[in-house]
């Protein structure tokens, strides 16, 4: 026994020493590939469960980003603990959007990127929820009016001039914006990352009708469906594809096996400009979109069924729905939230007055919004310095009200 072992070693020792020598040389050569475990892990197609600096959680970690463009006050409200986190000021923000983790605030000196430290990674049959520290991730150069859309891999920033740049999300996760790739062309609306590509509407000349264009993530043009969208306004990503709002209806662009197709979902009649959908809101992941339809009605677009439903309401300030049988939520100028059955158009519930001051006076897109997730809706009351949490499946019960030390004129929910 011991003999055979010894034979192994006497033969093995020089071999091992040689291997050792080779190894040190070999390893040094590969240093670039292997010295950064972060880099190698992001190289795999799906980010894996373990994330450095983040804690995996049993449930979705929902947070609200809140901003007052006048004072610049910015807060992140943790909806699990109920605590607010103060972050540095951003005054003059023209918008606040999210990709589920990062909050984007376009303002005078660029678009600020805030890592809200709450997100979800979808593995198809199961998901992972993460929570991490809230921190600044830098500033994109694009200023006021910039539109930011992102997916798990890239963040597309479209400036007011229609020029677009594409940033790597991996950089943002590291707390920096990194250097972008410039997307060719001039874009009539927001460039939208979708299905490992970038969807956009571009004009050939100054006056032509915008056409659908598809780029790969490196900025290369790929075969695009032949479809136009007159007077584009509003976009939304759903599981069924990307929806663009056009003068005559919605344009649904989807990917199937590497090919992109476009399908028109028209209104049943011509509409005056003020009554068409021009900005969509929905629950992330839902296929039911909402948009104000003029002053006293709301459009509900069922992307699965390809149908528009016009629900008559009171004077609209904001609307949204969780879809899947949940009521249409409409904030009306009486300051109350109203629930409507989407199928029948009938009012089903309403709250008391939740808004402070005159909501009709709010202009410029800085009015209150309704954010919806799988279980709750959130409504910001800027003048009242608070946010209401609504249980929309329980007769619009106000589940919680969060008092704040600032006016939350802009609000967005993260953690998905």
């Amino acid at each position: 026994m011991s003999l055979s072992v010894r034979r192994n070693v006497t033969a093995g020792a020089p071999a091992a020493l040689v291997a050792l020598a080779l190894l040190t040389a070999g390893c040094a050569g590969q240093d670039d590939d292997t010295s950064s475990p972060q880099g190698s892990s992001t190289a795999s197609a799906t980010p894996h469960g373990y994330v450095e600096g983040a804690q995996e959680a049993a449930e979705q970690q929902s947070r609200l980003v809140l901003n007052d463009p006048v004072t610049g006050d910015t807060r992140t409200l943790d909806l699990i603990t109920g605590r607010t986190h103060e972050t540095s000021r951003t005054a003059g923000a023209t918008d606040l959007t999210t990709d589920g983790r990062f909050g984007y605030l376009p303002a005078e000196d660029g678009t600020r990127v805030l890592d809200t430290g709450a997100w979800t990674v979808d593995h198809g049959d199961h998901v992972h929820y993460y929570r991490a520290a809230i921190r600044d991730a830098g500033t994109f150069p694009a200023g006021p009016g910039a539109r930011v859309r992102g997916d798990a891999a890239v963040t597309a920033v479209t400036g007011e001039d229609g020029r677009a740049a594409v940033y790597r999300r991996a950089d943002l996760e590291q707390g920096r914006v990194g250097s972008p790739r410039t997307l060719p062309g001039t874009h009539a609306g927001a460039v939208v990352p979708y299905a490992e590509h970038l969807l956009t509407l571009t004009r050939d000349g100054r006056n032509g009708t915008p056409k659908v264009a598809v780029y790969d993530r490196a900025g290369g043009r790929v075969t695009s469906p032949d479809a136009t969208c007159e007077d584009p306004a509003g976009d939304a990503v759903t599981r069924r594809g990307v929806v663009f709002g056009c003068a005559d209806g919605a344009l649904l662009v989807r990917e199937d096996d590497g090919h992109f197709t476009a399908e028109r979902i028209p209104y049943d009649r011509g509409l005056p400009a003020g009554e068409r959908a021009s900005s969509f809101r929905h629950r992330a992941g839902s296929d039911t979109l909402t948009a104000p339809a003029g002053d006293r009605a709301v459009w509900v677009l069922d992307v699965t069924e390809r149908t528009w439903t016009r629900v008559e309401t009171g004077p609209v300030v904001a609307a949204n729905t969780a879809g899947e049988g949940s009521p249409l939520l409409v904030l009306e100028t009486d300051g109350a939230l109203h629930g409507y059955d989407i199928a029948t158009g009938e009012p089903v519930a309403r709250t008391g007055r939740l808004l402070t001051g005159d909501p009709g006076a709010v202009t410029g897109g800085h009015g209150p919004v309704i954010e919806v997730d799988r279980s709750r809706a959130y409504l910001n009351d800027p003048e009242g310095s608070r946010v209401h949490e609504i249980d929309y499946n329980d007769g619009l019960r106000v589940a919680r009200t969060f008092d704040l030390d600032m006016k939350p004129a802009l609000m967005v929910e993260t953690g998905r």
Partner: protein
């Protein structure tokens, strides 16, 4: 006779240490230059079982960190290379290690012996969602076989055979001795689990849970698994009856007052369930898909199973 052997071992250790040192100094974990036979195991549960069987006959590398999720842990480039240089790769399979299986496949194609434990121990299929199974996997093989200790006994025996067949330089007799000793420990575990569960009245042998891993345990020891959705953190703050319905219905159906679930706020969950149902309600966490780190209460397979058995028995016998 023992003296040269010991020297030899010392020499080998020195060499191994030298190589480790050299690798560390190049800032990469190039463990593959080691002369010792290498067994690489994907999950930490199978890693523990394999270590018991292999003993000191080979180096056993476990890819999954303690406390990680087997469905989602991934490999670094170094680990992937290690996999391709192993003498034997032991993996759970049946789709469990989603981000690692392609690496295992690559190793297999490169000529490395691989052993899919789940496939080899007569897997069960997931039940329908209505019967406590996961949403979209009814009819698919259930990879979580380790909740049945009898199947782990079979797997341990098979791993021993695989090690003997594929790993050059191991002492067959030593491996067989290890396997035999571990087999006896697993047999004692099963007997002890049976005795513990016997204390739970027949009609209370129900696991109300959001875990999908206890199908094998339920099958082996005569439990019902009743799946339930655990309300999220935001709903728990101010829940309505409908938020809790999945859970309260499952508890009423099961006739039990204990929920076996992971929740970020177990105390709050128990509190709201008490309000909803009246009377005492307990929320108990179980170890499901990963061993803990050292001293974490489930740092070996045997300890994990004992901890779960005690938690289940206590949860279903009192109150």
């Amino acid at each position: 006779m023992t003296t040269p052997k010991r020297t030899v071992l010392r020499l080998r250790r020195l060499l191994a240490a030298l190589i480790t040192l050299a690798c560390a100094s190049t800032a990469t974990a190039c463990a593959s230059g080691d002369e010792r036979p290498q067994v690489v195991v994907t999950t930490n549960i199978l890693g523990d079982v394999t270590r018991e069987v292999v003993g000191d006959q080979a180096d056993v590398t476990v890819l999954m960190e303690p406390g990680a999720d087997p469905h989602s842990f991934g490999l670094s480039a170094v680990q992937a290379a290690e996999l391709e240089q192993a003498d034997l790769v032991v993996f759970n399979g049946l789709g469990l290690e989603e981000n690692v299986l392609r690496h295992v496949e690559a190793a297999h194609e490169a000529g490395v012996a691989t052993f899919e434990a789940g496939e080899a121990v007569d897997p069960l299929t997931f039940r329908k969602q209505a019967d406590g199974g996961p949403e979209e996997e009814a009819g698919q093989p259930d990879p979580h076989f380790w909740t049945d200790p009898d199947r782990v006994r079979r797997a341990a025996g098979l791993i021993a055979g695989q090690v003997i067949a594929h790993v050059d330089g191991v002492d067959e007799e030593a491996v067989r001795d290890n396997a035999e000793r571990y087999d006896a420990q697993l047999a004692r575990l099963t007997a002890w689990m049976e005795k513990s569960f016997d204390r739970i009245p027949e009609n209370r042998r129900a696991l109300v849970t959001n875990h999908h891993v206890f199908g094998y345990l339920a099958d082996r020891f005569g439990f019902r698994v009743i799946g339930a959705v655990i309300p999220s953190g935001t709903t728990l703050a101010s829940p309505s009856s409908s938020d809790l319905r999945s859970l309260t219905e499952a508890m009423r159906e099961a006739g039990v007052r204990t929920v076996f679930a992971d929740s970020s706020r177990p105390t709050r969950l128990a509190e709201v369930l008490r309000t909803e149902l009246g009377g005492e309600v307990r929320v108990v966490e179980l170890h499901s898909e990963s061993l803990t780190g050292k001293g974490g209460g489930a740092d070996t397979y045997l300890r994990m199973m004992r901890a779960n058995t005690e938690a289940m028995t206590a949860g279903l016998t009192t109150g």
